[in-house]
């Protein structure tokens, strides 16, 4: 973080209320994001703890462009290391996950233990007394980079940096409460899908944090009163901008005219089978929608009973993967599980709500193709990045940029 990133395309306007468009388009920025953010002092979501329950279970994942293996070691600890053989750099693990005794690279059969320590080298002593490695080759000095790992509420996070603060300090105590609220018991994976989005990864994360757009872009939300800005709720942002949580309370009774005349207000729209919109209370409060994000690329979603974690993986300046893991709890009743499956229609690549989030980043990416000299306006709710008792604010988006700029030195 010592040297600022000198962009070739322009300077940043003062304050947090403008975002220059080159930040979504510049290849140099994307390169520095990998080293300063994805390999820097942040906690990155890697996988679920239930993905690596038993000794030898592993799962492959990404930290930005960097391939990562998460494994359960012999002593029960969850560990993670770069998915890259120390020898020639080949991937060590080729599948999404599985159970192994140890790891070996298919290229030249270099072997690693479950912690990613190099344990053997094929033909190290040569063949028939010829060839082989020098006797003083020290296997302990070679191996894939190892991550620090923390397991929080059944989520596995990793970081390459020794400077990354303690997890709770990183996301702040307020957001920690929101995380624990949803992930309070053992989860079960009920589906995994990948959505490829035609936009820079930051546009998607901003969309997640943008409490202002939800009921305007998404007609489904407003019409069926899943969330309207006139419903109770609010947004909280950690002091460092790293984490946010927005909440919506169940709809109040009585007429609501705040949206009269807006496209998203379509009171004629009636579902034939509206049963799936009825949330089953399961968290002991009146919050029927909570979206929580942790910088740079983790999202936890509770839309009624539809629970999911989403992981952002950039795939170049203008493309990203969004990995959806749909969740239930291990002790779901059949009725509650069915409700989750039906409410799954709200989210994901075909979600009544989130299909638009998949497209809107691409609309921006295409819209700004010639606008490197221009900037986006994020002035709703003032100029700060503090939490608010309303969602008619872009405070959380400004919080994202506060965190991003601190790391990038921009």
């Amino acid at each position: 973080m010592d040297q600022p990133v000198h962009s070739q395309v322009g300077a940043w306007p003062p304050g947090l209320t403008r975002i220059p468009f080159w930040v979504y388009r510049d290849a140099g920025i994307a390169h520095h994001e990998q080293t300063r953010i994805f390999e820097g002092p942040d906690w990155h979501f890697l996988c679920l703890e239930v993905d690596v329950l038993q000794t030898g279970d592993y799962r492959t994942t990404m930290m930005g462009a960097m391939p990562v293996v998460v494994a359960r070691a012999e002593d029960g600890e969850v560990v993670a290391f770069e998915n890259r053989c120390a020898h020639r750099g080949s991937l060590i693990c080729l599948d999404d996950g599985g159970r192994v005794k140890d790891f070996h690279c298919v290229y030249h059969a270099w072997r690693y233990d479950l912690r990613g320590n190099l344990t053997s080298i094929a033909f190290r002593r040569g063949v028939n007394g010829q060839g082989g490695m020098r006797d003083d080759f020290d296997m302990t000095q070679h191996g894939p980079r190892k991550l620090r790992v923390t397991v929080q509420c059944g989520l596995v996070f990793g970081t390459l940096s020794a400077e990354t603060p303690d997890f709770e300090a990183y996301i702040g105590p307020e957001i920690m409460v929101r995380l624990r609220r949803v992930l309070h018991k053992k989860v079960e994976v009920i589906g995994r899908f990948t959505q490829q989005l035609p936009c820079n990864w930051k546009l998607y994360m901003e969309n997640v944090r943008d409490t202002y757009h939800a009921s305007l872009l998404h007609t489904f939300f407003a019409t069926f009163k899943i969330t309207r800005l006139s419903q109770g709720g609010g947004v909280m942002v950690s002091d460092n901008g790293v984490a946010h949580a927005s909440t919506t309370l169940a709809a109040a009774q009585g007429p609501d005219t705040a949206y009269a005349g807006l496209r998203a207000d379509n009171q004629d729209l009636k579902l034939r089978d509206p049963g799936f919109m009825a949330a089953v209370p399961e968290f002991g409060d009146a919050i029927n929608l909570q979206i929580l994000s942790i910088f740079p690329g983790f999202i936890l979603q509770q839309i009624h009973n539809a629970l999911a974690v989403r992981q952002i993986v950039p795939r170049g300046v203008d493309t990203m993967d969004l990995h959806w893991t749909y969740l239930g709890f291990a002790d779901d009743t059949p009725e509650l599980r069915t409700m989750r499956l039906k409410q799954g229609n709200l989210a994901g690549p075909a979600g009544f709500v989130s299909m638009e989030d998949g497209a809107v980043g691409g609309f921006v990416q295409r819209g700004i193709a010639a606008a490197d000299g221009e900037a986006a306006i994020v002035e709703m709710g003032g100029a700060g990045a503090e939490g608010a008792a309303t969602r008619a604010t872009e405070a959380s988006v400004r919080g994202f940029w506060k965190a991003w700029r601190a790391r990038m030195g921009v």
Binding site: V189, I190, P198, T219, F220, D273, A359
Partner: protein, 153 residues
């Protein structure tokens, strides 16, 4: 029998490809299961779908939402269907497996192989004797969906 199933498949695909989405739920029984999932999810027996509907009314609601609520760029599908492999059950229902490929064409003319996979169907006669889907599990070979899945597969 094979012709009955193939004709049902062709008619259902035509409804989607021609943009007559309102016609499409009519190829299902009132009580039905329609789920879009992927080979990987199917093999692991994960329950959730990209689309999950356990009644024809939910399919009608999806069409209604696509017409009235959801925002997506103008696009069309072209389904290419394989020959159904069928097995007649003792109750008269038919289990059918049919490969499909869907090419998506966007408003600017960009075309892509949007999805390929297999329909795992259970087909029955309705009260009027017409063959209808009691169950259609759409198993996509790839878990990756480009941008969004608006029109059903």
């Amino acid at each position: 029998m094979l012709m009955n199933i193939a004709t049902l498949n062709a008619a259902s695909a035509r409804a989607l490809d021609s943009g007559n989405l309102e016609e499409w739920p009519g190829f299902f029984l009132d009580d039905c299961l329609y789920k879009v999932t992927t080979a990987d999810n199917h093999e692991k027996a994960y329950q959730a779908g990209l689309i999950y509907a356990d009644s024809r009314a939910m399919l009608e609601d999806r069409v209604l939402a696509l017409r009235e609520a959801n925002i997506y760029e103008r696009q069309r599908y072209r389904h290419i269907l394989g020959m159904p492999l069928i097995q007649v059950g003792s109750d008269g229902s038919v289990a059918a497996e049919t490969s499909f490929m869907v090419v998506r064409t966007m408003r600017d003319g960009q075309m892509m192989v949007f999805a390929a996979g297999v329909y795992l169907d259970r087909v029955m006669r309705d009260a009027d004797g017409a063959w209808r889907y009691a169950e259609r599990i759409v198993v996509c070979d790839s878990q990756r969906i480009d941008t969004l899945l608006a029109i059903p597969l």
